[in-house]
Assembly symmetry: C2
Homo-oligomer: 219 residues x 2
């Protein structure tokens, strides 16, 4: 099935909204896609006709099995490109979204799979979101960004968003790796740095940049 760019954007938006809220309403979609409810209704009919949605008029939509599959390949592409932009082209993690919005629509399975291999099959994108593999399977760790954690919480590193050589070097130097358990001592509003304490070791200071690259789960 070959989707247009607009169709792909609808599928992706439904995927994300459905993740957060179950059944997705026409108005939610219109807001999320910066379009009007009437336009959404039109498109829902077309996507339903292509068997990508479960749609009952006035009752909102969810993705069908096929729709979910399509959504996962788009999400996979989006996140792989984000990883590429940050890790290889030195984009800031906060400036990659727009560009990835365009790159995700390039249709070539071979391109995506080769890109994946080139990047070393990363499991998380620069924002810490899991990247689906070529079968649509992705990590489901319930994770938080270190920046969002309250002081005094005990947490465990579950992934590293940006896997550049420089970051890996920094992490090795600080003795932090996936699985490391530590306590958040306090956060400094001035520079958004974070003081942490690793078990049986003295406390460390984590810069904002590093904190944004670390994804953790509560322990």
């Amino acid at each position: 099935m070959n989707l247009t760019v607009a169709e792909e954007n609808y599928i992706k938006a439904i995927f994300h909204l459905q993740q957060a809220e179950g059944n997705v309403s026409t108005n939610q979609l219109a807001a999320s896609l910066n379009t009007k409810p009437a336009s959404v209704t039109d498109m829902l009919k077309r996507l339903t006709h292509k068997n990508l949605l479960n749609y009952e008029p006035y009752q909102g939509v969810t993705l069908s099995k096929d729709g979910k599959k399509q959504a996962l390949t788009i999400v996979r592409k989006h996140r792989l490109w984000e990883f590429f932009l940050v890790d290889k082209l030195q984009f800031g993690w906060d400036e990659v979204h727009e560009v990835a919005e365009e790159l995700e629509h390039v249709r070539s399975k071979k391109l995506v799979d080769k890109l994946d291999a080139f990047l070393g099959h990363p499991k998380f994108d620069p924002h810490g979101d899991p990247i689906p593999d070529s079968n649509g399977i992705m990590a489901t760790i319930r994770q938080f960004n270190l920046i969002d954690i309250n002081p005094t919480a005990w947490v465990e590193v579950c992934s590293v968003g940006i896997q550049s050589a420089e970051l890996l070097e920094l992490l090795r130097h600080k003795n932090i790796g996936i699985g490391t358990i530590f306590q958040v001592i306090r956060k400094f509003d001035f520079d958004h740095s974070i003081e942490i304490s690793i078990k049986n070791s003295k406390s460390l200071n984590i810069s904002q940049q590093l904190a944004q690259a670390l994804f953790v789960k509560l322990v």
Copy 2:
């Protein structure tokens, strides 16, 4: 000025046809774009209205100054992506065109310039065509692929299409570099390999793959 994908494809097609034949006719464009003459006329009017073309009904078109500038940025993107696909993602040089046709339409000046830097500011794409720089300036060497050269011709290496580490290693090993002058002794139809002779050195055998990566000019 923000062009649609279709508009960009017209500009690009006119650029290439104009290179070869001067004034470009409606029929030529229709053939080149797999569309009908009537559709071409429509688009020519729109692009003329955007000041990208010099168009006189029944007389064919050429690109205006603005149009040429647009064309060069599209060609730049296309060729940089082709280089990326071959050099980084290990695509074959003969399978990158389609994918680059899509990637070339991603709009982000920053992306292109960062990609250019990441690739090491290559001067030629994997087919040996020159890559315009960010000002639209490109090498104008009249070059041939080694594969297309007649035996007994004296030629000089003027560029290397694919600049992978492996290829550069092979070239160093064979003592071939940009500027190297040699004679094509003969070509073997069986495996398309080529026998060459470098001045003051014994003769060498060049595989088809290597020959396809070497671009030369007649001396």
